[in-house]
């Protein structure tokens, strides 16, 4: 009985008639001819559409007749069609990322190739001028974490583990308390702690910072040994310590961007980076005071497009995007309060030295940045 029903069922299997097969084959050859011919005619963008339409017609003929889907149980068609649904998802999501995100703009500081050697002959030797310069840079770059007096008690310090270094204590310096070794720390950072690399600062600024922070300590600083110079990658026999080598770790975006338009050395020098612009601006072009303040005080943490993120700070705290929704952006008053007082217990330091007109300009400037994304 079983074999009987088998036989009956087998009669239902569709056998492709030879004539149909030949017709389909002919149609496929004809369409091949058509697609080659049309590709020779310039239709602009339509060429692609036509070629894909013809290919899909051909593919459908093959699947429906040669592969029997037309006569087969529908579930096999559904199974096969599913693969194309997933392929479409794959393609659409991938293109979203590549074709619909904003233009990638890279801060040329990040792009800077090995920094030029120091202009000083022996920058590892401390001078009062270097210490004074270092103090200035310290106030702009370091106080958020290390505190105004370098005691490791800046507004952001409480969020950090390990805590930022207290420069008034002698012991425990990761790389050592010597000019060359602090210089090395500034260049490489101290991963995985929140101490980031400041290799984007000019070489002389980093020497100045090194001298300033070691000058804060309670005891005299020991002289640099040949090993210290070696560790720091500084050549004491060359003026300024020789050119620095910078490890080639660049983000993918930057790599893509460099493939696109790699600025030459002279272009890099001739242009100034303005975070409010999505393009390069000429050096000397008027830059608003607000833009200047932003790149001075805000860009390290909030990024060039106010999108927040952790460009410099590798702490576990994510710096929020500045958008119309953020609390500090609700009104001019709350903006002023946030900027002047900072957010104690958070990474946001206070910036008390701006005038109210500067703060007003900055507020509008940041609003403009935030509405760009």
């Amino acid at each position: 009985m079983e074999s009987h029903s088998d036989k009956n069922k087998h009669h239902h299997h569709h056998i492709l008639p030879t004539q149909t097969a030949l017709m389909i084959g002919g149609a496929l050859l004809f369409l091949t001819f058509v697609t080659v011919w049309i590709a020779g005619v310039d239709l602009g963008r339509l060429n692609f559409v036509v070629a894909m339409a013809v290919a899909t017609t051909k593919a459908s003929l093959v699947a429906l007749f040669f592969m029997n889907l037309y006569y087969d149980r529908k579930e096999n068609s559904v199974i096969f069609a599913t693969s194309f649904v997933f392929l479409a998802i794959f393609f659409v999501l991938t293109s979203m990322d590549l074709f619909f995100r904003g233009k990638v703009v890279v801060d040329p500081n990040l792009m800077a190739a090995p920094q030029a050697a120091s202009k000083l002959k022996k920058p590892w030797i401390s001078t009062p001028e270097l210490v004074a310069k270092g103090k200035e840079i310290f106030a702009a770059q370091c106080v958020a974490c290390h505190g105004a007096d370098g005691q490791g008690n800046g507004p952001a310090a409480s969020a950090l583990n390990p805590a930022p270094r207290n420069f008034h204590v002698d012991a425990g310096w990761k790389n050592g308390r010597k000019a060359t070794l602090v210089f090395k720390t500034l260049k490489e950072g101290l991963p995985p702690s929140a101490m980031a690399s400041y290799a984007s600062l000019p070489t002389d600024d980093r020497w100045a910072l090194s001298h300033y922070v070691i000058s804060l300590g309670p005891t005299a600083v020991l002289a640099d040994t040949p090993e210290d110079f070696k560790k720091a990658g500084v050549n004491p026999d060359q003026e300024g310590g020789g050119a620095e080598s910078v490890a080639a770790t660049i983000p993918v975006d930057l790599a893509l961007d460099q493939m696109e338009v790699a600025p030459t050395e002279s272009e890099r020098n001739a242009h100034l980076y303005d975070p409010s612009q999505t393009q390069w601006v000429e050096r000397g072009a008027p830059q608003s005071r607000a833009a200047q303040i932003y790149s001075e005080s805000c860009v390290q943490c909030h990024n060039s497009n106010a999108q927040g993120g952790i460009k410099i700070l590798r702490a576990s705290v994510i710096v929020p995007a500045l958008s119309g929704q953020s609390e500090g952006m609700r009104s001019q008053e709350s903006f002023n309060r946030f900027v002047i007082q900072g957010l104690p217990g958070n990474l946001m330091p206070g910036f008390g030295h701006y005038s109210s007109s500067e703060l007003r300009d900055l507020y509008h400037y940041v609003q403009g940045l935030a509405s760009n994304h």
Binding site: L16, A21, L28, T32, A51, M52, A55, M67, R73
Partner: protein, 216 residues
């Protein structure tokens, strides 16, 4: 001529209720396998789409160096082989073993022909230094990103070529079994499923040809 007697003796595996169930299950398994094939080639097609979207001029200049005539000949060869494969299946279903053998041999030869043409194409590319990545030495193409196009060209046509080789292997296998008289109107699952595989190889080429050779 017919070898029906042999096929009647085909016994379906015991975990199937009937030979028909067995056939349907095998076929569905093959479709699911083909889904994974679509997704494997899919990655390359998406890469192609992205490359084209990012660097349309580069793709356009590079695609001009592909031999449209050879690609077109291979399209005709592959479509004809699909036709002979379909006829091999229907001949087996009708119990016409001699015809089925003839069609399978023809399909096999068309596959060889495809690879011979491909061989000439590849040699010409090698000769002109149109190679992927670091091996690219061609000086005619000015765009420094041109090697990317040829990386993709060789990956896509190479993976397809591997499928042609595997197809030839399985066609040879069903040919041998047909010669032995394993198949007839009652049992032809392997012939039909090898047919599916071969048609799929054709499907991929149907898209590769215009995308790479015609509208790059």
């Amino acid at each position: 001529m017919s070898n029906g007697e042999n096929a009647v003796q085909h016994h379906h595996a015991h975990h199937f209720a009937s030979a028909d169930d067995e056939f349907e299950a095998s076929k569905q398994g093959m479709w699911i396998f083909l889904v994974t094939e679509v997704l494997m080639f899919g990655g390359l097609f998406v890469a192609y789409g992205i490359l084209r979207g990012l660097y349309p001029e580069m793709v356009h200049e590079a695609h001009k160096l592909l031999a449209v005539k050879m690609g077109a000949i291979n399209t005709v060869v592959l479509i004809t082989s699909s036709l002979t494969m379909a006829l091999a299946v229907s001949s087996t279903q009708k119990g016409q073993r001699d015809r089925a053998i003839l069609y399978l041999v023809a399909t096999f030869l068309f596959a060889c022909c495809f690879l011979v043409v491909k061989y000439f194409e590849y040699s010409a590319k090698f000769h002109h230094g149109l190679l992927p990545g670091a091996h690219f030495t061609n000086e005619e193409l000015k765009d420094p990103k041109s090697p990317l196009f040829f990386s993709l060209y060789f990956m896509m046509t190479g993976l397809h070529g591997v499928h042609v080789l595997i197809g030839m292997g399985v066609i040879g296998w069903v040919l041998r079994r047909t010669l032995r008289g394993d198949f007839g109107p009652q049992f032809y699952t392997p012939v039909e499923l090898v047919g599916f595989y071969w048609h799929f190889v054709d499907l991929v080429w149907i898209y590769l040809f215009p995308l790479l050779y015609l509208v790059g």
